[in-house]
Amino acid sequence: MRLLRPILAFLASIILTLLGLLAVTFVIGRVIPIDPVLAVVGDRASPQTYAAARAAMGFDLPLYQQFLIYLKNVLSGNFGQSTLTGRPVLEDIKAFFPATIELSSVAIVVGVGLGVPLGVLAGVRSGRWPDHLVRLFGLVGYSAPVFWLGLVGLLIFYAKLDWVGGPGRLDIYYDGLIEPRTGLLLLDSLLAGDTEVFWNAVSHIVLPASILAWYSMAYLSRMTRSFVMAEMKQEYVMTARIKGMSECRVIWRHVMGNVAVPLVTVVALSYGGLLEGSILTETVFAWPGLGRYITESLFNADMNAVLGGTIVVGVCYILLNLLSDLVYRLLDPRAHAA
C-alpha cells in the first residue's frame, strides 16, 4: 500500500499534463487565421447562413464552454472530420499511426543495439581514441539534418547503388497484397506467410530506419557514456575490483546494473524523439505515417487533423514517460522505499 500514494500523485500529474496538452491545442485551434465557419459555408454565404452555421458549430458559446465541449469530444475519441480526407480524424490516425510505430520501433531497436555498447566503450576508454571516434560518429549523426540525410541516402543507396527500396513502405506492385492486421507491415507479411512482401518491406524500411537509428544511437551513446563515466567513479566499482573481478565483469555486471536504471528513461525519451524525428523522415521517404499526415494536413489547413495528430503524439510522449517511470521503479530498489 506504500506504493499507492505515489501512484495516485503520479496519475494526478499525468491527468493535469494531459489537460494542459488539450488546452494548448485548443488555444492553437482558436487563434489560427483560418475561419472554420467560413471554410464550411463558403465565402458567398449570407450573414444569416453564416450565423446559423456558427451557432451550429458552437462558436457563439463562451470560450470555456467551447473548451468543455472540445474536451468531451476529444475524450470520446472525436477529433472531428478531416477536410482533406473527408474521414473522421480518428480513423485516419488509426490508418497512419502503425507505419510510424513500425519505423520508429525498428529504429529504436537498432539505436539501442548500437548506441549502448558504443557508449560503454567510449565511457570506459574516455579520453582515448575509441572515445573520440564514437563521439565523432555520434555527433555527426546528432548534427546531421534528418531530412537531408534521407535525401542523400536515397540518392546514394537507392538511385545510384540500388541496394535498398525507394520511398514508400513497399514497391507499388506489392501494394495492397497483404491484408492489414496489426498495421505493421513486417509483422503482417510474416503472419500471412508472404516472405516476398516481407523482404520488400525490409528493403524499404532499412534506409529511413537506419537514419533515425543513427540519430537515436548518437543520443544514447552520449548518455550511456556519461552514465558509465559517472558510475565508474563510484566506490562500489572499486569494491568489485577488490573482489578480484575482471574489468569486463565489473563493467557489465556492476556498472551496467546501475547504468540501466537511468538508461531506461533515456531510451523512452529517445523513442519519443523518434516519433518526432519521423515527421521529417516520413516527408522525405513518402512514408505514410502520422508525421506525414500531420504535415500534409498542415499545408491543406486541415486543423482538425493537425491537432488530432498532435494530441496523439503528445499522449504517446506522456505515456512513454509514464512507462519509463514505472520501469525505473522496478529496476531501482531504492525507489521502492521512497
Binding site: 494548448v24 555527433l139 537531408w148 535525401l151 542523400v152 538511385a159 518526432e276 493537425v306 503528445g314
Partner: protein, 299 residues
C-alpha cells in the same frame, strides 16, 4: 610567455582578476587539449566570419538575381557550389544563408534564456503554489514533442521566419526553467541569501542581484549545447516550407527547393545540407568540449 603562464597558473592568485584569468586559462588548456572541440571552435568562428563578411565574400545580388539560362549548373570555377534551379549562385546563397542561421540562433537564445531564467528563478525562489503552477506549465510544454508543437504554432501563426523563431522559442524554454529552478533552490538555502533577507532586501532584488548572476553560467552553457538543436529545428521548419520563405537563402528551404533535382543535380540539395551539418556539428563539438572543460567533476 613563461612568466605569463606561471602568473596564470599560480596556486595562490593575488587578485580576483588573476584568479578569474587563471580559471579561464585552465579551462582553455582543457579545451585546447581536445582536438574535437578545437575543430568545433574553428567551425563556429568560420560561421561568424562568413556571416560578418558575407557582402564582401559574395555580392548580395548573386543571392537573388535569377539567370534561367545558367540554371542547375554543376560546381565549377565560376560557381564554386554550382547554381540552383533558378540559376542563382549557390555559394553566394550559402554564405548569405549563414546570416539567417546566425540570426535565428541569436534571437531564439535572446528569447529563451531570459524567459526560462525568469520562470525558473521565480518558481524556485517563491515556491509554494507559484512553483507548482509554473512547473506544471513547464511539464506540459515538455510533454510535447518540440517539432510537432512548433509545427502547430507555425500553422496557427503563419509560415515565415518570425513565426519559426517564435515557435522554436516557445517550445525550447522549459528545460531552461527547470535548470534555473534547480539552481535557485540550491542558492536559496545559502547563508548569504539569509543575510540579504535579514538586511531587508526584497524578493525581486534578491532574485536580480543574488540569484541571477549565479544561475547565468549554467544557462549559458546549456544554450551553447542547444544551438545545434535550434539550427536543426529551424532548418527542419524551413525544409517543410514553414520557416523562411523563398527566395530567402535559408539552408533548410534550399534543401527542399533542390529536392526535385536530387537525382541528377545532386549539389542543389546536398550543399546547403552540408552547411547545416557542419554548423550544427561545430556547435555540438564546441558545446561538448566546453562542458567537459568546465565540468568540475571531470578533473
Amino acid at each position: 610567455m613563461n612568466n605569463a603562464r606561471s602568473w596564470l597558473l599560480a596556486d595562490q592568485p593575488a587578485s580576483p582578476l588573476q584568479a578569474r584569468m587563471g580559471r579561464f586559462y585552465t579551462s582553455w588548456l582543457a579545451l585546447s587539449a581536445n582536438p574535437l572541440a578545437l575543430i568545433g571552435l574553428a567551425i563556429v568562428v568560420l560561421l561568424l566570419l562568413s556571416a560578418l563578411l558575407a557582402p564582401w565574400i559574395a555580392p548580395r545580388d548573386a543571392v537573388y538575381v535569377q539567370n534561367l539560362d545558367g540554371r542547375l549548373q554543376p560546381p565549377s570555377l565560376l560557381h564554386w557550389f554550382g547554381t540552383d534551379e533558378l540559376g542563382r549562385d549557390l555559394f553566394a546563397r550559402v554564405v548569405h544563408g549563414s546570416r539567417i542561421t546566425l540570426m535565428i540562433v541569436a534571437l531564439v537564445a535572446i528569447i529563451v534564456g531570459p524567459l526560462g531564467l525568469i520562470i525558473g528563478m521565480v518558481a524556485g525562489y517563491v515556491g509554494g503554489w507559484t512553483d507548482r503552477i509554473l512547473m506544471r506549465l513547464t511539464d506540459i510544454f515538455l510533454a510535447f514533442p518540440r517539432l510537432v508543437l512548433a509545427l502547430a504554432f507555425v500553422a496557427a501563426l503563419r509560415p515565415g521566419i518570425e513565426s519559426a523563431i517564435l515557435a522554436i522559442a516557445i517550445t525550447s524554454w522549459p528545460p531552461y526553467a527547470r535548470l534555473a529552478r534547480a539552481e535557485t533552490l540550491m542558492i536559496r538555502r545559502s547563508d548569504f541569501i539569509a543575510a540579504a533577507i535579514a538586511q531587508g532586501a526584497s524578493a525581486p532584488r534578491i532574485i536580480r542581484r543574488y540569484v541571477m548572476p549565479l544561475c547565468m553560467p549554467s544557462v549559458v552553457i546549456r544554450l551553447t549545447l542547444d544551438m545545434a538543436g535550434i539550427i536543426l529545428t529551424a532548418a527542419g521548419l524551413g525544409f517543410l516550407g514553414l520557416g523562411a520563405q523563398p527566395p530567402s537563402p535559408e539552408w533548410g528551404a534550399m534543401v527542399a527547393a533542390g529536392r526535385g533535382y536530387v537525382l541528377d543535380q545532386w549539389w542543389v540539395s546536398t550543399i546547403p545540407g552540408i552547411a547545416i551539418l557542419l554548423v550544427s556539428l561545430g556547435f555540438n563539438l564546441l558545446g561538448d568540449g566546453l562542458r567537459d572543460a568546465l565540468d568540475p567533476r571531470q578533473s
